[in-house]
């Protein structure tokens, strides 16, 4: 029996060697190319985009603090808005330097806790770095502080409030500056890290990508829609509820995930993305499903009312449809794509059984 097996094996080897020639792309795709392109044309430029937006935010805050006018206040709010949108493009990179600063959490935890914020301002003694203050800092805290009713009046008349805002903004700047500077050195090890162990950069990238996708699904749509509370809607779970820019943030987050998937750089340059890896692996069906789903989400998102809170009330079904579409797409993303990549999520031993 064994000798037969060997002959059969030899035959198979011959057959598969022939296969190889027709399947050339499979042999030549390198994850390093994907990681290099992503680091140089997406991650680094996007982080410095965010850095300059936050710098502009600080500048407009300073001008406003020195000379408060309604016009200055509007500029400030617009700077906050464009920085918050930029943040959507990097929050998925919750590993390496981003994780060292815990950027995704400190900048983007919502819903913000207005009670804690007010208590902090009132008492004047607080440690913004403590975990208990994660929902009293970052972009969501500014959403409350800058956009709540009577915000202009309250800020201009309260030194304590000004101080709090200044410290929140400076903390953000500090963390982004740290991340940007660490990434310049981390870049090289990121680009090399293409093995499939759970701690390699490629695995970190894929796992955090999936996690960001799930976080988007739950926090931006699922919780407000009441997916986990028997469909009782929770508008206070909406992101950026005071400013009402939730839809811009949702579509920016979706676009970021799409760009990384397709390998689209921040200035539009095309390079290798997950899509190319899937095609190299012969997973064309999965690749095309995912590609068309991203476009579908964009359309569905665009069609929603520009204010998500209004959409939640008046366009509930459309929002549920988008939520369900994103949810169903997780199957392709998590089982087909991650399965094909052979990326491990477990950090302990694994014998594949």
């Amino acid at each position: 029996m064994r000798s037969y097996s060997w002959i059969f094996g030899m035959l198979l080897l011959l057959v598969s060697c022939k296969d190889k020639k027709t399947n050339n792309q499979e042999d030549t795709f390198k994850k390093t190319e994907l990681l290099t392109h992503l680091a140089d044309n997406y991650i680094l430029p996007e982080y410095s985009n965010l850095q300059s937006k936050v710098n502009a935010l600080i500048a407009s805050w300073s001008s406003f603090e020195n000379q408060p006018t309604e016009v200055q206040f509007d500029t400030l709010k617009n700077q906050w808005k464009s920085a918050y949108i930029r943040f959507q493009f990097v929050k998925m990179f919750d590993f390496g330097p981003g994780m060292n600063q815990n950027l995704t959490m400190t900048l983007g935890t919502f819903p913000t806790d207005s009670v804690t914020i007010e208590a902090n301002i009132q008492s004047g003694s607080y440690n913004l770095s403590s975990i208990s203050n994660y929902d009293a800092i970052g972009f969501p805290a500014l959403d409350y502080l800058l956009f709540k009713s009577n915000a202009y009046q309250e800020i201009t008349t309260s030194l304590a409030r000004k101080k709090y805002i200044r410290e929140v903004v400076l903390k953000m700047k500090n963390e982004i500056d740290q991340t940007v500077s660490e990434w310049t050195t981390y870049r090289n090890s990121f680009v090399d890290g293409s093995s499939n162990s759970s701690t390699s950069p490629f695995s970190l990238l894929v796992n955090n990508y999936i996690r960001d996708y799930e976080v988007l699904k739950w926090t931006k749509l699922g919780y407000p829609l009441g997916a986990n509370t028997g469909s009782t809607k929770n508008p206070n779970y909406l992101e950026a509820r005071y400013s009402g820019i939730g839809k811009d943030l949702l579509s920016a987050n979706l676009l970021a995930l799409q760009n990384v998937y397709l390998g689209k750089g921040s200035n539009g340059t095309n390079g290798k993305g997950f899509n190319d890896y899937l095609i190299a692996l012969g997973k064309n069906t999965t690749a095309s499903t995912l590609t068309s789903n991203w476009n579908l989400f964009n359309q569905q998102c665009k069609a929603l009312n520009s204010n998500l809170e209004e959409a939640l009330t008046n366009e509930t079904q459309q929002m549920i449809d988008l939520y369900n579409a994103i949810h169903n797409n997780t199957i392709a993303l998590k089982t087909d794509m991650v399965g094909a990549f052979g990326v491990l999520i477990t950090y302990s031993d694994n014998d594949g059984d």
Partner: protein, 456 residues
């Protein structure tokens, strides 16, 4: 009876057994230190809110008490290594190790099962009868020979691991599609110089076929005196390659060193003598106590019983629905089916309340760790366990929202699960239609699992 007598009870040198005791004790010691130093006790046995236990009632100790079994294991390993209070040490190691492994299916590995079995066997073997602290303590007569079965049963255990791992590889995924190796090997496509080969099909096929033939034949080559040295070379190469390529922890080293049991006393005498010169004073021994043997009849019957179980367990899937083994995973564990599956799943759980007609979608991460979600999503018995847990959590619970609170009085737990097996497109694994809390998890085929479509 004479042949059985000769086969099992002929006296042979104790050295291979003593060598095995020292090797296995050291590996256990290294393994438990490694486990502790990686912070896995905290991650795997303290942090989770819920555990996928094997046996009802065997649950983790609370909080930091979970370190106790690991420290006992450490102590027991030292006892085995030095042959000190040997039997008590072996019992202690076996109980604490097996207890830990029974706590959560998430962490099940075939080689942990192997360790449990060997620890169990060591309880009954006179591995401390020579060159041990027990000798030195003047408690135990030093023996130079032991009945052949004491070494044979360990050889049998190792041969079972290899042989059944080989049998398990005789399936079309492994041999005709080179899966899951194709997926795992292509991930090394970026390696300098050799990376291109890892992305090719033929290397995956070569590895698959070689692995299958290796597993099926290596026990026999190790048994034969003529081929033993060459076979051991293969053992070393094979396990080092797997150690480099796959995150299987200390398993390759356990196999590389345990396999030395196949070598005769002349081989072990050399390195044991080397160590013995370091411990010269230990060798003084006055005979005070002899090992009490079980009667041959008892030993014979126990061996038959053990061997039968070890042969029957891996074969049990063939009595059921073997073609769907990888899909349903009935008869998967305790069968040496190593490295055969690359399953990726996505499981969404729903709590439906008949009275209020509400549906709640569960966020798995609210209850489970990332590791647990990953393992649970593809394994039916764990899905059922999690569903039962959700039933207990939600039954008669109040859901708070900003608008209203409502009480769930008659929850029904449903799951929609999709799984991709060995590179196949994902397909329905469990349909949302089944109320899982009503299903029984028995040995009968599970009707609530969707049929498997083997198409690629």
């Amino acid at each position: 009876m004479i042949t059985i007598n000769r086969l099992l009870f002929k006296e042979t040198s104790i050295l291979p057994l003593v060598a095995f005791r020292i090797i296995f004790g050291s590996l256990m010691l290294i393994g438990s230190i490694r486990f502790l130093s990686y912070g896995w006790v905290e991650q795997l046995y303290i942090q989770p809110k819920f555990y996928f236990g094997f046996i009802k009632g065997i649950v983790p100790l609370s909080g930091n008490w979970m370190y106790v079994p690991f420290l006992l294991l450490l102590l027991g390993s030292l006892g085995i290594l030095f042959g000190a209070w040997y039997r008590a040490s072996a019992i202690l190691s076996f109980i604490s190790f097996t207890y830990i492994e029974l706590l959560d299916k998430t962490n099940y590995l075939n080689h942990y099962y192997f360790v449990s079995l060997v620890l169990f066997l060591l309880i009954f073997l006179p591995a401390n009868a020579y060159f041990s602290v027990d000798n030195y303590r003047n408690r135990l007569q030093s023996l130079t020979t032991v009945p052949v079965y004491t070494i044979g049963v360990l050889k049998f255990q190792l041969a079972v691991v290899y042989f059944f791992a080989g049998i398990a590889k005789i399936n079309s995924d492994w041999l005709l599609h080179a899966q899951p190796l194709k997926i795992w090997l292509q991930a090394y496509r970026d390696l300098p110089f050799i990376g291109d080969y890892f992305a090719t099909n033929w290397l995956a096929f070569a590895f698959s076929w070689f692995g299958c033939v290796y597993d099926l034949t290596i026990p026999f080559f190790l048994l034969s005196k003529k081929t033993r040295s060459y076979a051991y070379l293969f053992v070393i190469v094979f396990h080092i390659v797997t150690w480099l390529l796959f995150p299987i922890g200390v398993f390759p080293w356990v196999m590389i060193f345990s396999t030395l049991i196949f070598f005769p006393d002349s081989f072990h005498r050399r390195w044991l003598n080397q160590i013995q010169t370091l411990f010269r004073p230990l060798n003084i021994c006055t005979e005070t106590k002899t090992i009490k043997w079980f009667s041959k009849k008892v030993v014979f019957l126990c061996l038959i019983f053990y061997v039968t179980i070890q042969l029957a367990l891996p074969l049990r899937c063939f009595f059921g629905n073997s073609s769907k083994l990888f899909w349903h995973e009935e008869g998967m564990r305790f069968s040496w089916r190593v490295m055969l599956l690359h399953k990726e799943g996505y499981a969404t759980f729903y709590v439906k309340d008949a009275r209020t007609n509400r549906e709640i979608q569960v966020r798995n991460e609210d209850f489970l760790t990332e590791n647990q979600v990953d393992q649970m999503s593809t394994q039916p018995d764990m899905i059922k366990q999690f569903a039962d847990y959700l039933y207990r959590v939600y039954n008669d619970s109040v859901i708070h929202t900003n608008q209203e609170d409502f009480r769930i009085t008659s929850p029904s737990i449903h799951a929609q699960v999709y799984v991709s097996l060995n590179g196949r497109p994902s397909q329905l694994f469990i349909s949302k239609t089944h109320a899982l809390q009503e299903k029984k998890y028995t040995f009968a085929p599970h009707k609530w699992l969707a049929p498997f479509n083997p198409a690629w």
